[in-house]
């Protein structure tokens, strides 16, 4: 088999680059513990309103004993409930969110805070907001004819 010298050089160069990229991303993941939402936790979406965690009275922002914050949300046609949440800056936030109907998802322009919301499963996202201000959760997964109107408010306040 004949592979040209120049081409061999190119093969080495690109292969090393690909492995270097894998190394960097692997470092972020394994050492700095940055992962996408991957909690693999099931829930019966048709009985969400009867569940302990996602019933109407338990939704919203709660302070934990260790100073961190837990946010419990429901994403349903066509809003995030409660529709306005306030969280403190520079504080570990754990968001738990579930859907009683179809697929949803959200991202927040200006922040890397995002997940998909899949009926039958709970999504858990960990975040820490570095700056205060008004932000918006936009539904980013087609969920029905009112999809465009599905967004809500996130206020990051001083600690």
């Amino acid at each position: 088999m004949h592979i040209d010298k120049l081409e061999k050089f190119w093969i080495w160069l690109t292969t090393i680059t690909a492995f270097a990229a894998t190394g960097v991303l692997g470092f972020y993941a394994l050492h700095l513990n940055i992962h996408p939402p991957s909690n693999v936790e099931t829930i019966d979406s048709s009985r969400l309103h009867l569940s302990k965690e996602f019933n109407e009275n338990n939704l919203g922002v709660k302070k934990n004993a260790d100073g961190s914050v837990t946010v419990t949300l429901v994403a349903a046609r066509y809003g995030f409930f409660p529709s306005h949440i306030k969280v403190p800056a520079n504080t570990p936030v754990k968001l738990r969110i579930a859907s009683p109907d179809v697929l949803h998802g959200f991202h927040v322009p200006g922040l890397n805070f995002a997940t998909m919301v899949i009926p039958g499963y709970v999504s858990e996202v960990h975040a820490k907001f570095p700056k205060t201000g008004e932000f918006f959760l936009l539904c980013n997964e087609f969920c029905g004819l009112g999809h465009d109107h599905m967004w809500s408010k996130l206020t990051v306040t001083n600690k």
Partner: protein
């Protein structure tokens, strides 16, 4: 006038592809108009989401599958210089695929299947839509087996000979398709179809999405490999050059075939039902599959440089200007590589396990796959059509000038459309919205980009119309040409091609095991844990 063997089968496939393509283009223009909001009366969610679903299914499943089948029959007949054995077998596949397409299209156009190209359970479409999609895939399997059959027959009749690269790649693509299309077929047959018929009450959305992801990445390579094959086997030849290295081309094609199937989980990074470790494993594969593409870029540019130097080009860059850019297929090759470069950079962002959170489901993604698919791949489908139409029909191309204009317009239109989309994605615009009724502060900076998107969409429509016009007029052309086709020559032809680079037995077994490693447990887990299915929802 000499008639090419298999003419009707090739042209029937091609015309189905390009007729539906034209429908989808018009829908695309409607969509950019709706999103930009220039005609408020046109912002009707029912219409928009029906249109997006139809546009996606046609471009992704119909245009591609039929064009690739036509391409495959052309490649087999010409590169192997043999007739199609049992042509009825190919026609059977064609008719099954066309029946499926018409079933799915009627449901899409009547608004009963506005569930997007990725099916989106628990949104439910009409059962005929799912059945139609499954038939389209099953029809294409006839083609895939036909390709494998023809290559094996040729090898038996020509022992020790090297399978021409055009056919070798076509069979690699057929095998890739058989493996990758299995995911979506399983999802339709065991989940969506019985569920939409009411035979089962609920589906596990996590399982459905996992199965679709199995198809969702490698299908992109199914679309892309014919474009690469034109770059390998036709562009250097037409430019007056040679294929730089036959062995490397084969290694790249085999890498694409083996690596691209079990990496689809990068579409599920933001989904909660798969564990982090599996996503990380799939990311490694995703980054590795960039390698054969980088090798392809090298080989193709080297082939063009050979052409330029043979034509008298001197110096480090002089050869570039000696390449015959006036040939549509050569020009398209260069434009395709440029779009691949832009799109490839974006793809590395999407592939990144952690960075993906910033762009997931934003308009960035739409920009990315339009560059890679509608740009890189489809411009080569155009180029291939310009190349093969005269050979198949025996009539000269109606206008080379219009063809060159059309390719430039497609390139310019695609960049005008997709660069603003990337930017909008970074600003946070979601994909798949029919309008943007958000607070002013969210929409800041969007308007100018949306204007770009609209202009890009219109340029692309003009380009598409020129393309169809040129092909139609070619059928009526009175100037005859001979259907001669010659396989590309290699700079250093291998005296004897190693068996591993001249067949697929070993590689097929390897894909099978890699697929079990990559998708075995992620699929099995849904049967091991207690999951809750979901009942169907309308839109």
């Amino acid at each position: 006038m000499e008639k090419m063997h298999g003419k009707n089968l090739i042209l029937a496939n091609m015309w189905v592809a390009f007729t539906f393509f034209m429908v989808a283009i018009l829908l695309g223009v409607f969509q950019v108009l709706s999103r930009a909001g220039y005609v408020p009366g046109l912002q009707i969610p029912e219409l928009y989401f029906g249109s997006v679903s139809t546009h996606g299914v046609i471009m992704g499943f119909v245009l591609t599958t039929f064009a690739i089948m036509g391409f495959g029959y052309f490649a087999a007949v010409n590169s192997l210089k043999m007739n199609i054995p049992h042509k009825w077998f190919g026609w059977t596949g064609f008719i099954i695929a066309l029946t499926g397409t018409l079933m799915a299209a009627s449901m899409l156009l009547s608004g009963q299947a506005s569930v997007m190209y990725t099916f989106y359970p628990p949104l439910k479409a009409h059962p005929l839509f799912y059945a139609g999609a499954a038939l389209l895939v099953v029809g294409s399997w006839f083609w895939a087996f036909h390709m494998i059959w023809m290559m094996n027959k040729w090898k038996k009749e020509n022992p020790g000979e090297t399978v021409p690269i055009l056919m070798f790649g076509t069979v690699a693509n057929a095998i890739l398709w058989l493996f990758t299309s299995l995911g979506v077929t399983l999802e339709i047959l065991f989940l969506l179809l019985p569920w939409s018929l009411g035979w089962i009450e609920t589906v596990d959305v996590g399982l459905g999405r996992t199965l679709f992801s199995w198809t969702l990445h490698a299908i992109v390579y199914f679309w892309l490999i014919p474009a690469y094959l034109v770059l390998y086997a036709i562009v250097p030849k037409e430019a007056g050059g040679k294929l730089f290295c036959d062995e490397m081309a084969r290694i790249s094609l085999i890498m694409l075939m083996v690596i691209s199937v079990p990496i689809g989980m990068h579409h599920l990074y933001m989904d909660p039902f798969q564990a982090a470790g599996w996503k990380l494993v799939h990311m490694v594969g995703t980054l590795l599959v960039a390698l054969p593409t980088l090798f392809t870029g090298f080989t193709v540019l080297a082939g063009l440089e050979i052409a330029g130097r043979l034509a008298g080009g001197r110096g480090p860059f002089g050869w570039f200007f000696a390449v015959p850019w006036g040939k549509p297929v050569v020009l398209a090759g260069m434009l395709s590589l440029l779009m691949l470069t832009f799109g490839g950079f974006g793809g590395l962002v999407n592939a990144s396990y952690s960075l993906n959170a910033l762009v997931h489901n934003t308009q960035w993604i739409t920009g990315h796959f339009h560059l890679i698919f509608a740009g890189t791949s489809i411009i080569m489908y155009f180029a291939f059509a310009y190349y093969m139409w005269p050979k198949v029909t025996g009539k000269e191309l109606f206008s080379t000038k219009i063809a060159l204009w059309q390719l430039w317009l497609w390139f310019i239109g695609m960049l005008t459309l997709t660069l603003p989309w990337h930017y909008l994605g970074m600003l946070g615009q979601p994909r798949r919205i029919s309008s943007s009724p958000y607070p002013e502060v969210v929409r800041e900076g969007w308007a100018l980009q949306e204007l770009g998107m609209f202009i890009g969409g219109v340029i692309l429509m003009v380009s598409a119309v020129l393309f169809i016009y040129n092909l139609l007029r070619t059928h009526g052309n009175t100037i005859s040409v001979a259907p001669a086709f010659n396989n590309v020559e290699c700079l250093n032809p291998a005296a004897r091609m190693p068996a591993l680079l001249n067949g697929f037995g070993f590689w097929t077994v390897l894909i099978f095991f890699y697929l079990i490693v990559g998708y075995g447990y992620p699929v099995l887990q849904f049967f091991l844990m207690e999951t809750h299915g979901v009942e169907p929802w309308g839109i």
